[in-house]
């Protein structure tokens, strides 16, 4: 392996901390009742959704080896379960792992 692992960990954590740090600096000037705060709230949720959509549709790592159709079905079924179980988080999360492992080994 070409890159030093220790330095890679440091680079990763530094690159991550920068955004948090700048966020605190910016927060100083923003009131929670302001429009800008609302805008940032929208940005936070939309970037998270963009990230999630990317992970599910164009995954990296282990998930990439599962067929796109199977991933889609699993997420869809779990969402339905979430909605009909009156927004219970435990059922869909536990079921998702079992369902995907089952589908990907049998299809």
């Amino acid at each position: 392996m070409a890159t030093n692992i220790f330095l890679a960990i440091l680079a990763t954590s530094l690159a991550t901390y920068i955004s948090r740090f700048l966020g605190v600096v910016t927060s100083k000037k923003i009131k929670e009742t302001s429009k800008i705060f609302k805008w940032f709230n929208c940005l936070a949720y939309s970037t998270l959704s963009a990230l999630l959509a990317r992970i599910i549709i164009f995954p990296a790592g282990a998930l990439a080896e599962v067929d796109y159709f199977i991933r889609f079905i699993v997420v869809f079924i779990c969402l339905i379960i979430f909605l009909i179980s009156k927004k219970n988080f435990v059922y869909p999360t536990v079921l998702s792992a079992l369902l995907l492992a089952l589908l990907s080994s049998n299809l």
């Binding site: 692992i5 936070a44 970037t47 998702s96 492992a101």
Partner: protein, 233 residues
Amino acid sequence: MNIKYFLKGFFCIKSADSPAIALFASFIAIGALFKSIGLNIQESIFSTFLTYALPGSLIMAESLIVGASLLNIFLAVWLVNARLYPMTVSLFPLLTHKSQPRFKYYLACHFIAVSAWLIMKQNCKSVERKYRLDYWIGVGAANLSVAMSATAFGFFIADYLNKDMMVGLAIVNPVYFTCVMVGAMKTIQMSLAVILGSVLGILFYFISPEWCILLGGFTAGTLAFFIGELNGN
């Protein structure tokens, strides 16, 4: 530091809608992945402790496999974790109180990652403002501890995990957060932010895989904000 509020925040991890299961599953996968690419146990736990935000750790692991340069790793991680910036700005104004020392905010922001952030967004208003920062540190410390233990656990059981189990673990986190996002769609603004975010995130992927999260998220969030404002939320 108010211990009572710290502990109150810490034990949020036991609540029914807690991200603990999803967090544990995904960091088991990270621990196993770290082992397979040649990190030792100290490095694995250290990495989760220092970075904590999951997508960044995944990028690091992938980059190490292909032997990317440090600068490449830095830029790729920065891009994928830049979403932490709007997340911080949409949380920390709720935590500020003049009695808290400034440096504490710079330490406490290390706990910003989606799991802790979501708990805090939900519970924030129910906590007295003066103690919110202590409560937040409790929430963050609990989540980080779960992540670190799961990394260690994943490292040790790596040899017993087959491919199907790894795949199963990898889907838990996206499914949990998809449910959380759908659960957060309570106003026009929020619903649009979530729906447009996922659609544009994918569309922008065809233009640039590296920038799709930021560009898609920024465009979607801004659109959602303005449409929501025009329609009175």
